[in-house]
C-alpha cells in the first residue's frame, strides 16, 4: 500500500525535524560531506557481529504476507516466506525460486509448476505440491482477509496435484497476472501447519521457508528475526547462495519519523524505513546509503467516476490533466530520488510506456479545450458554464500535500478542486457506494493488469468508473493474451487511451525511501518495492 501514513508523518516531521536537527547538530553531528550512494553488492565483514537494527515506521499488525498488503508488514514478511517464482525488478523477467520450472496453457487458465527438491519450512516439514495446493485453497477461504492474494488468484478453481513436486493451478477464466503474482509475497508459501491455522494465528506467527525465521513479535514494540540455518534455495536474482549473511535483524517499531532519523544519526538504528522526503537531503553524505524505489502499479493519481459531477465531460477531464505540472508536484511533495509520473503506470512497473508528451503541462491546451467546450472564465478566476462553476471534488485518505499542490495548480488554471480528506475506512466506503467524483490514491501492483483491476466493470473492487466499451475490451484482451509482445502492444494502447481520455490523471510516483548507515550494505528492493534482506550484511562499524 502506498503509505498513507507518510503524508501525515511528514506534516508532523517538519517542525520536529527542525528541532531534532538543531539539537543533533549541536550534540552529535556526524561527519561526511559529499554525495550519498546506493549500496551495491556487499560481503560481510567477519570481524563484526552480523546483526542489524532496522527501525520500522509502524506496527506491522499482521506478519502473514498472504493476508496483509501493508508495506511495513511485507518488509518483514518477505524475509520469512519464499515464493514460487521471483521477478527481476529491473527487467520484469520472471525467474525460478521455489519452483524450478513453470508453464501456462495457451488460454492462461492452467499453470503447471515443478518444485525444487529439498526445500523445508522452518518447522522442519518439507515443501510439497500438496502444501502449495493447501496454501492456495486457504487463501481462497480467507476471502476478504486476504484481498490482495485473492486478486492474484482471481478465478481460482483449485490445484491439481500430480506428484510430490509437480502440480497445476487451475482458473475458471484466463489469469494473465498469476505468474507475476506467484513472485509476490502475497502468494508466498507457508508451511502446512500455518496454512491450516486460523487467520489470527497466522498473523502472529507465520512459518515459511525463508532465509530468516520469526524469533518474536511484540505488537506496538518490536519484531525480531534470526537466520535460518541450512537455508539453501535463494532465487537466482540474489548475489549469493546458501544462508543469509545476517544472524539477526531487530525491527523496533518507531512511529515518530524524527526519532527514526535521529536514531540513524546517533547510531541507535542501522537502517530506517520510510525516511521522510523532507529529511532526504540530510542523508546524502558518504555516511549513509539511501534506498529509493517507486511503487510499481498505478502512481498516485486522480481516478475518475464518470457518472458523477462534471467527470463525464471529457474536455473537463483532459483540461484538468493538462493543467497539472507534475514536475513541480514532484519537487513540492515528492522525493528527490523520484521523478514525475510519465504514464498511468509508474516507471518501475513492467509494461510501462513513456507517455510524457500526453501528460505534459499544457495550460494553453487546457484553456483551449475548456473554452471550446463553452466554459468562460468568471470574475473569481474560476471557469463557469450556464451558471455552473467548474468545481470538482477528490476523495482521498493520504498524500494531502500532493492534492494541495494540484489544487493550487488547478486554481491557476481556473478549475476549483475541492479536497475531501477522509479516513481509510470511509475512502473504501465511498468506493463501495460509488459516491465520489474522483479518488486521489495510487494502486500498488507489479503487473500492468492493475489497470484492469482499477477500471474494468468486471473488477469487483474497481475504483475508476468509466463507460468505454473499447477500453473494456482491451482490458479483457490483455488479461487473456499469453504472448508477451502481443500483450505489451495492448498494454501500450490501454495506457495511451487511459491517459489521453484522462480516466486516470497521475500526480506523483510514490517512492519507498529508506536509509542505512554506510557500514550496512546489500539491502535490495524486490519487484514490488519491498525490502529483501537476504544479501544484506554489516561491512563496517
Amino acid at each position: 500500500m502506498a503509505s498513507p501514513h507518510t503524508a501525515r508523518m511528514r506534516v508532523l516531521a517538519l517542525p520536529v525535524g527542525i528541532a531534532v536537527a538543531a539539537l543533533t547538530m549541536a550534540g552529535c553531528a556526524s561527519g561526511g560531506a559529499t554525495g550519498g550512494q546506493t549500496a551495491a553488492a556487499s560481503t560481510p565483514n567477519p570481524d563484526l557481529e552480523q546483526s542489524i537494527v532496522f527501525a520500522l515506521k509502524e506496527d506491522p499488525k499482521c506478519l502473514d504476507p498472504q493476508q496483509t498488503s501493508m508495506t511495513t508488514a511485507l518488509n518483514v514478511g518477505r524475509q520469512l516466506v519464499d515464493s514460487l517464482l521471483d521477478q527481476n525488478p529491473d527487467t520484469g523477467e520472471i525467474v525460478p525460486w521455489l519452483a524450478t520450472e513453470w508453464s501456462a496453457n495457451t488460454d492462461l487458465t492452467a499453470y503447471t509448476f515443478t518444485l525444487k527438491d529439498g526445500v523445508t519450512f522452518s518447522d522442519g516439514t518439507p515443501l510439497t505440491s500438496q502444501v502449495v495446493a493447501d496454501n492456495f485453497d486457504a487463501i481462497a477461504a480467507l476471502g476478504a482477509s486476504a484481498s490482495l492474494a485473492n486478486g492474484y488468484l482471481a478465478g481460482y478453481a483449485g490445484t491439481t496435484v500430480t506428484s510430490d513436486t509437480t502440480f497445476t493451478v487451475n482458473f475458471s477464466a484466463p489469469n494473465v497476472q498469476f505468474a507475476q503474482g506467484a513472485t509476490t509475497m502475497s502468494l508466498g508459501i507457508l508451511s502446512d501447519a500455518s496454512a491450516k491455522a486460523s487467520a489470527e494465528e497466522r498473523c502472529a506467527k507465520p512459518v515459511g521457508s525463508g532465509p530468516f525465521t520469526l524469533a518474536s513479535y511484540v505488537p506496538n514494540d518490536s519484531v525480531e528475526i534470526v537466520k535460518r540455518a541450512g537455508y539453501d534455495w535463494a532465487s537466482g536474482l540474489r548475489t549469493h547462495q546458501g544462508e543469509a549473511y545476517l544472524e539477526k535483524v531487530t525491527f523496533p517499531i518507531i512511529t515518530e519519523a524524527s526519532v527514526r532519523t535521529g536514531g540513524l544519526q546517533s547510531g541507535e538504528y542501522d537502517v530506517i524505513q520510510d525516511l521522510p522526503y523532507v529529511d532526504e537531503s540530510r542523508f546524502t553524505t558518504d555516511s549513509y546509503h539511501l534506498y529509493a524505489k517507486a511503487n510499481p502499479g498505478v502512481p498516485n493519481s486522480l481516478i475518475v467516476n464518470t457518472t458523477k459531477g462534471l467527470m463525464g465531460d471529457e474536455a473537463v477531464r483532459q483540461a484538468i490533466s493538462k493543467s497539472l505540472d507534475r514536475d513541480k508536484i514532484n519537487v513540492i511533495a515528492g522525493s528527490a530520488s523520484g521523478k514525475a509520473p510519465t504514464s498511468v503506470l509508474t516507471s518501475s512497473t513492467p509494461g510501462y510506456t513513456d507517455l510524457g508528451d500526453v501528460l505534459a503541462h499544457d495550460p494553453d491546451g487546457a484553456k483551449k479545450l475548456l473554452e471550446g467546450d463553452g466554459w468562460t472564465l468568471g470574475s473569481d478566476g474560476i471557469y463557469q458554464k450556464n451558471g455552473q462553476k467548474l468545481t470538482v471534488t477528490v476523495t482521498a485518505f493520504y498524500a494531502q500535500d500532493v492534492l494541495e499542490a494540484a489544487q493550487i495548480q488547478l486554481k491557476d488554471a481556473g478549475i476549483d478542486l475541492q479536497l475531501n480528506m477522509v479516513s481509510s475506512g470511509d475512502f473504501f466506503g465511498a468506493i463501495a457506494s460509488g459516491n465520489y467524483e474522483m479518488l486521489g490514491a495510487g494502486l500498488t501492483r507489479t503487473d500492468p493488469d492493475v489497470l484492469r483491476v482499477l477500471l474494468s466493470s468486471t473488477s469487483k473492487s474497481r475504483w475508476g468508473i468509466v463507460d468505454d466499451p473499447e477500453l473494456e475490451s482491451m482490458l479483457q484482451k490483455q488479461a487473456q493474451t499469453a504472448d508477451a509482445a502481443a500483450r505489451q502492444k495492448i498494454v501500450d494502447d490501454i495506457q495511451k487511451t487511459v491517459a489521453e481520455k484522462a480516466y486516470v490523471m497521475p500526480t506523483l510516483e510514490t517512492v519507498q525511501l529508506h536509509a542505512s548507515r554506510a557500514g550496512v550494505g546489500g539491502i535490495e528492493f524486490d519487484s514490488a518495492a519491498r525490502v529483501q534482506l537476504f544479501d544484506a550484511a554489516v561491512t563496517a562499524k
Binding site: 500500500m1 502506498a2 520536529v16 528541532a19 531534532v20 539539537l23 543533533t24 550534540g27 552529535c28 506496527d59 499488525k61 499482521c62 493476508q67 496483509t68 498488503s69 501493508m70 508495506t71 508488514a73 476471502g143 476478504a144 482477509s145 484481498s147 490482495l148 485473492n150 486478486g151 486460523s198 487467520a199 489470527e200 498473523c203 511484540v218 505488537p219 506496538n220 514494540d221 518490536s222 523496533p252 517499531i253 518507531i254 512511529t255 515518530e256 524524527s258 526519532v259 535521529g262 536514531g263 544519526q265 546517533s266 541507535e268 479516513s423 481509510s424 475506512g425 470511509d426 475512502f427 473504501f428 466506503g429 468506493i431 463501495a432 490514491a441 494502486l443 500498488t444 469487483k460 473492487s461
Partner: protein, 336 residues
Amino acid sequence: MDSSGGAGRGRVIARFLLPKIAQCIFVVWATYTVAFLLIHALPGDPILAALSVKGGDATTTDPEQLAAVRARYGLDGPVWQQYLTNFLNLFRGDLGVSIATGQPVSEMVGRAFPHTAAVAVFALLVGFLGALGFTVWAYIARPAWVRNVVVQVPPLGIAIPAFLSGVVLISVFSFGLGWFPASGTNGFASVVLPGITLALPTGAIFFQVFSAAVFDAGASPFVFTANAKGLSQSAVVFRHVLRNALLPSITIIGLQIGYLAGGTAVVETVFSRDGIGRLTVDAVLARDINVVLGVVVVVAVVYAVVTLIVDALYGVIDPRTRTRLTSGAKRTAVTA
C-alpha cells in the same frame, strides 16, 4: 459495647461508602453507553475501516465478502441487540474481539495496560515530588523576587507540549548522551524519559493546586502561632503547612490518574511505546469498535475506583469527615 460499637461504626462507614460505590458503577455504565452510542453514530463502515488496516489499497468492497465479515464479528444485527450482547458479555469479563487484528480485546488491553501504568505511576511520583520541592523552595525562598521567579517555573511544564519536550529529551538523553533508550518497553530505563515527559504537565498542575494551598495555609493564624511559639522553620513547614495543604492535592491526584490512564497517547507515540493511549488512537483510526469500548471501560473503571479511593481517603485524612464518621459511630453506640 465494643462489638456493637464496631458494628455501628461499620454501618456508618457503609452509609458513607455505599452511595459512592453506586455512583462509581453508574459512571462506568454511563461512560460505556455514551461511548457505544457515539461510536455507532459516526458515519462510515467499521468493517471497511478494519479491513483497510490490513488490506491497504487491495481492500475489497465486494458486498458479498463484506457481509460475510460483518456476520463473523456480530455486527450484522440491529444496534440495540449489539449493545445488549456486548454489555452483558462485559460481566463475564469478555470485551469481544478486535475487528482489525482478530485478537481478544482483553488480551490487547492486558498487554498494553502495565506499560501505561508504569509510565503513569512514575510520572505521578516525579510530578508530585517535583511539585513538592518547588512549593517548599518557593515557600522559603527570600527575597520576594526569587520566590516570584521560582513560582513561574513549573507552569512551563504545562505550557510546553509533551510532543516537543519528549523529542527534546530523546535528542539529549538518548541520542546525545545515550543514557536512556529512545523507544520500547524494556525495563525501568525505558520508563524514565516518557515518565518525565508526562511528569512535566502533571507536576505543573500539582504545583498550581499544592502551592496555592500551602501559601494559603502559610498565611493562616495557626502558622503565625507556630512561628510565634518559636518552632523551627522545617517543623512549621512539614508539620503544619504541608499537612493542611494535603487535602486539595489528593483530589487533584485522583483527577490526574484518570487523565494519565487514557491521556498518554502522545507520549507513547513519541517514545514508540506500546500502551493504552496508542491502542486507543489506532483503534479509533481503524473504527475498531470493540477495542475502543474495551479501553473506555477499563479507563472508566480505573477512574471510578481511584475516585472512590480518594473519597474514602477524605474520611481518613480530613478531620471534619473523620469526626463526623466517628462521632456518628459513637452516637449509634450510645443509642445501641
